[in-house]
Subunit: 238 residues, 2 copies
DNA sequence: ATCGCAACTTCACGCCGTATAGTTTCTGCA
DNA sequence: TGCAGAAACTATACGGCGTGAAGTTGCGAT
């Protein structure tokens, strides 16, 4: 039985090394931006040769893909947690919590935001499938929950909506329609638009483009949430 | 007079070479993304040595800064032109034209969009001042014109706005306030929020994040414009 | 005792930005 | 007309990058 025991041990060591590579890569990213994620720097930090990493990730892009997936999942966790921590009975509070969690996460992890939503690393091209789209869909599903919470108040605004299910990706609908069976296509369109609104404001802020325009991006974001709730007709409790 | 004549000729040659460097750099960017802007590739394309470029730009970052400025200016020109080509009497048409020009430019020049709004190039850090912020302010000023056009219809939505002039960058206000003397701070906040909305949707589309969610990003953008006009109360002519 | 394999290193190649030094070519003045 | 000097450009070199190929080491299984 030493056979299975030592194989288990080998696999454990392997998993630990893999975890360390990712940990060091994320540290490098946090301090030097996504560009600082280089195999040689990671190896240097770990007291290894750069080529040793090829035993764990086939290419640098594979490593980056994994990191994107991890970081994106962390973002999804953060916004989901904020949502779940608020009472289902008060849509305004939930929506505000979601949006604030999104912005806060981005400001705390600006390099992670760049990794996930920007050009991650020179020459990187994202693969087709994988778990990163999965995390993206979690975020979109969260946004749809947001739209669903607001829908009773907002539906009258979208009576003549021209959207139908074919306008959306089946992979997204597979997650969204079972979760919200009564929601029409127009609400998913609303969710994606809200995504765009929040992403845009946060993105401009993270990339420093807001800095030259406003001295108070937080206030602008609060105004955004307020106007969003008002537009949707979601009542704000005093 | 050969003195001044030949000096003029030298300067002309110099200007021509500078222009060629920028032209080749933009071609490389268009075909291979901002990462493809390398001094060696440019030089190769021009039949020169990489070091020759140092006679025209002190560092690669200097070249990139110039390119960002040029490309950003081209974007500002495009949206300004679309705005000016529409009748001042119909705010809805003007706003729609502006927004469509913004998205269209981004889709036609995706790499330019990434250069201006993303991480331009590995290791690049933008300098403080320079003409790129100038182009950014032109875009913001255009957006303020948009807000100003809608303001007669939209002002009632922002009666209890908490914004004042100190919330904005003086450099922006220097351009905006003389152009729109009657506009309150709330309208500038609205302009920046609209910027965020449009930037977010276009950015998600350019970076491929919308692809996994909707099959019809154009329709989503049209809906965005329609809802924008509706929430602002700007009448749409039939 | 030996085989096999996983982990890791060494060496090499071609990319990159850029510093330094040398070469060519042309300008402007004596 | 001849020559100093500047401008434009090349040559060489350094360190950093991703990565392919080949070699080394150590350990479990037979």
């Amino acid at each position: 039985m030493t056979a299975t025991g030592s194989r288990a041990r080998r696999e454990r060591l392997r998993a630990e090394t893999t975890a360390e590579i990712k940990k060091v890569a994320l540290e490098l990213m946090a301090s030097g931006g996504p560009d600082a994620i280089t195999l040689r720097a990671i190896a240097r930090e770990m007291g290894m040769t750069a080529n040793a990493i090829y035993g764990y990730f086939a290419t640098r892009d594979d490593l980056v893909t994994t990191l994107i997936s991890d970081v994106y999942t962390a973002l999804a966790d953060a916004v989901d947690a904020a949502w779940s921590a608020t009472p289902a009975t008060d849509p305004a509070v939930r929506i505000e919590a979601w949006a604030n969690a999104f912005r806060t996460w981005a400001l705390v992890n600006p390099q992670g935001f760049r990794l996930v939503y920007g050009d991650p690393v020179p020459g990187y091209r994202a693969p087709e499938g994988g778990p990163a789209p999965e995390a993206a869909r979690r975020v979109c599903t969260g946004l749809t929950a947001l739209a669903a919470a607001a829908w009773p108040h907002a539906r009258h605004l979208y009576r003549d909506s021209a959207f139908d299910w074919s306008d959306f990706d089946p992979g997204l609908l597979d997650k969204v329609r079972p979760a919200f069976p009564d929601l029409p296509p127009a609400a998913v369109a609303l969710a994606l638009r809200v995504w765009g609104h929040l992403h845009g404001l946060v993105s401009l802020e993270v990339y420093g483009h807001m800095h030259n325009q406003t001295t108070n991006p937080e206030k602008l974001f609060r105004e955004e949430i307020a106007q969003l709730l008002q537009t949707l007709g979601v009542p704000r409790r005093r």
